[in-house]
Symmetry: C2
Subunit: 678 residues, 2 copies
Amino acid sequence: MRLAMLALLLGASLAASADEGMWTFDNFPAATVEAKYGANIDSAWLDRARRSTIRLSNCTASFVSPEGLILTNHHCVEACLANLSTRDMSLVQTGFVSRGRSDEPRCATQVADVLQSMENVTGKVTQAITGLDGPAANDARKEALTRLEQACEKNTGLKCESVTLYQGGQYFLYRYKRYDDVRLVLAPEADIAAFGGDPDNFQFPRWSLDFSMLRAYEKGKPAKTPDYFPIRFAGPEAGEPMFVSGHPGATERLDTRAELEFQRDLVLPNWLLRYAELRGRYIQFGKGSEAAARIVEEPLNSLENGIKVQRKLLDALRGDSLLAAKSEAEQALRAKMAGDTAFGDPWADITKATTIERSLYLPYLFLEGAGGFNSASFRYARTLVRAAAERGKPNTERLREYTDTALPRLAQRTLATVPVYPELENLTLSFSLERMREWLGPDHPVVRLLLAKDSPDRLAARLIADTKLADPATRRQLWDGGAAAIAASGDPMIRLALAIDEPSRAVRKRYEDEVEAPITTASEKIAAARFKVYGTNVYPDATFTLRLNYGTVAGWNEDGRDIPPFTQLATAFGRATGSEPFRIPDSWLRVRDSLDMQTPFCISTTNDIVGGNSGSPLIDAQGRIVGLLFDGNIHSISGRYGFDVAQNRAIAVHPAIIREALQKVYHADAVLRELGVR
Amino acid sequence: MRLAMLALLLGASLAASADEGMWTFDNFPAATVEAKYGANIDSAWLDRARRSTIRLSNCTASFVSPEGLILTNHHCVEACLANLSTRDMSLVQTGFVSRGRSDEPRCATQVADVLQSMENVTGKVTQAITGLDGPAANDARKEALTRLEQACEKNTGLKCESVTLYQGGQYFLYRYKRYDDVRLVLAPEADIAAFGGDPDNFQFPRWSLDFSMLRAYEKGKPAKTPDYFPIRFAGPEAGEPMFVSGHPGATERLDTRAELEFQRDLVLPNWLLRYAELRGRYIQFGKGSEAAARIVEEPLNSLENGIKVQRKLLDALRGDSLLAAKSEAEQALRAKMAGDTAFGDPWADITKATTIERSLYLPYLFLEGAGGFNSASFRYARTLVRAAAERGKPNTERLREYTDTALPRLAQRTLATVPVYPELENLTLSFSLERMREWLGPDHPVVRLLLAKDSPDRLAARLIADTKLADPATRRQLWDGGAAAIAASGDPMIRLALAIDEPSRAVRKRYEDEVEAPITTASEKIAAARFKVYGTNVYPDATFTLRLNYGTVAGWNEDGRDIPPFTQLATAFGRATGSEPFRIPDSWLRVRDSLDMQTPFCISTTNDIVGGNSGSPLIDAQGRIVGLLFDGNIHSISGRYGFDVAQNRAIAVHPAIIREALQKVYHADAVLRELGVR
């Protein structure tokens, strides 16, 4: 780990030899790849890969047919499956196989974005803040980004989003074609899709059939998608060059030591404590009845994944070596810049800001972050209250998540018909109110306001019983009615969101002025220094925007033991206990004798991936899909802070097991034809 | 914090001026106290305080009448109250006021120990291990302690326990008079005893009436206890010298940096994650019914207290200053010993041992520590299986917790009639099996043995449904029947305990030989060096043995705000919300008009206390009780690692509020007479 971190921190000049890097499509190191792997990645290859790769709201996906068919992970559509379920029936448990195109139900809150072009707007942003400093620069920067997005959308008709790369070293506009009608085609049962469950999550060897299929629609018809990846069902060979095109969510490899210490000391421990408890509440709740188990399954799965990630992140920060390497790298860059008097000490500025951040962290988390109000109804109320207030302002003066660019997606999410279960709402809201009281203390003004004469349980029960926000028609009326409708509303959740809006905005304003503003200014300085000293042959931290990386099919050595890069179906049957999460579904047991037990199941590769890459196509040098990324091994989690070339591995579903499942288990003949099988 | 830590680590020569120290009764710094506070603590004072102070199984207490009446905290008898409760009735909730001596129910697993004398046996232990090293020395040391205890009990008829002081710098035999018949006299309702609950725990100002009364019996009659503390109900003045006689449980102020890092990196984070989840399960379980809420109340309260403690301990270790001070102190002592070639590098020896400990930690925790088998039935099974095996061996060859000295107490605990609730057993056992699978992994041999074809839920449900160990008669039969009865038993919990006994003992043996043995040897070396360099005017770490400390009534300054050292009853009524944990019981509301609202409620003092001191008498220079210790402020938690003279405060119940409660709320006239009131 230490070597890889140093290589990166000291300018990434060694990164290429380590298959490290989440490269933007405008700066892909094609020459390095050619030299190392003999693969020719030209601009046609890149363009086709870009137009075939999809950003979902939470994951990556890709087109696999010219008629909008999308391949992604099961866990990427789990929320959609839950939204299409009821107390009495869970598509998460049963899976879903469409009987034809008229039988593809819509994922009400999903979208599919395809990147069309990127424009470097660094100069325009720099110009907008020239002569400004601190909070004024911070505000001006946001206004400039909003203006640029607005003009772009007007001119192109595409979705335009500004992207901050290299911690402020570059600003870009990314332009997307957006499909907001995304429908479900096929999903296996969770028992096989997430075989091994939480115990096997982030483990390899592995036997999880974590795939699903969606379809993009336009004007009520399957979208025409001439750019797509064909699938090479035979899969890759060990040692073959592999590419992953996708949207890695977030890394912090370029963060300063002070920022990482803030994560280590406050963010991660607090998160883990609160969510370990919520995990316990979910599990116990689910034991109450079969309906309760169905209701809680998807949020519990998501939570358990988060706990494993945060736990390993904290482990990584707790070790001395990562932070020591970070200090060395900072010293080295500081030394190189010693002659530049205008440079100042941006690391000291960030350290000072994180000191303030420590004092703001808990109120920010519980109020502005709504950590004290964990419920779908409150999230609706917060959005409705703020959207009404912000829409009354000029576009550039709004909170950034309520600009004209953001509103259509916000409306889709807020107005979609999805189930809201009061019993689960009660659980999460009473839990979060109680923890807010624990962490802010019973004497905090907001806590006294809400709980001076009430208990968290009683308050939550009353709010959930009386709010009508679970009904989409009520939300539609408040969304359309705007500020007047909000002011007139007697809904208790709306009144709660109004009551805490001022203290929430106040802590956010302090955070933006006293933490975000100085950190952004200092980060831009450090980024400029890094470009100056180390050049531009580097990649930026992940920002849930399109990246390409390269690697190869390979296992690794764990405590002296070689882990081979492929697994086979037979071992899944051997590992089954008959009980969740090691249960093989009946649909598979019924056809067991017809299955080829030697079918490859999962693949380990050296590609540099992170959460958000889930659902990414694993592509060969000819641009064919040879696997479906769904996870990393346990060492990959600390990849958030630095890439460990020896042990960090990506994990993909092998296409052969997908074909085996489609043919013999799910009899998805139409899908197979669409994929060109037989 | 840093100054106090350094003072301590560098030899405690400054400790006296800081009111720091948990002094053994044979080494109390009476001259320092006389000089600072003008209080004359002579040997008669010390002898009376020692004979009036009680060690309960989990707390401190004291005699307050010549007829065995005992004053301690409510939370110290909460387990007894729960044991005397049922699904339908909770003494924790209702409280208890005895109607007379025939109405004092026995706390089935409680004992009251009074220290009679102490003997320094360091020479005898040193002699026993002369010429031995490593595991052989470790075994010989334990055998010597067992032999010494055995001989002492035979010669004196008292309970004899060996005590390791100064991390092996001294070994003592402590001789106790034991009362194993301890009965309940009085306890307030939890709503007032723990007013403020978890949110206010470890906070000050405070309004918790955390007191209760027990009585020691001998041969079925109230014990004669001529040594006791009278109560000065008017309470102390600010600035008056205060003494706390009690049994602080455990501090780690003399531990090495490597040992603290092991706590920081493994023990505390793992504990917090697992128990935060269990907290969530308990809370959700308690919402199921009023009976469930009653059943879970006591374990939940205990757990929440633990979570707050461990959380603040981790915070303390995460800061850089404590560990930096530790390193400096180690360097300083190492430098002083540089000329002594036989000294070696005991810190390096300990670091090496903790490296091994890291690899053994999880299997030790889940198997030998039974962290994978959290249920009363399993604990019974483990004890019965091991007691049968160990009793068949010579006394000195047994595991130390099964020697002849330990057996009577073990039998009392194992055979007592206490409620065992299968629904709670199911919860804790399935939880711990599942977490064992998470942390050891599904492929660990013991996990495969138990869960290869089963789920944690199903296995737990079957074990709890089929075991008969909840029945004391079954346990009695297996205890009396010994090895033959165990071998013949088909009870599934006994079979489970047998099945995992060998792997559990194996990891324990490795731990003892490879971790405990080298650490003990190295710690003894460091202790000897510390005595040599810094002299003997120091106090040892807490070991749940009798200590005396001194201080004064004082508040502190919190973020520029002065916290006064007394609170009054009126504020409790102002703070009440009507809902738990801020609910004032009906018994108080009914007599509200008769109460003196200016009655002092709680007291803050500078005494150096830690968990285990709960229930300690706060004593004035004349040996009268002027308060009942029940907590420390939030800064006191890190007192485990070092005393912060500026902010570390002990918290006591004021005797005036106890009198007010006994007179006006509980009408405990007989108790008041016994206490000499009116």
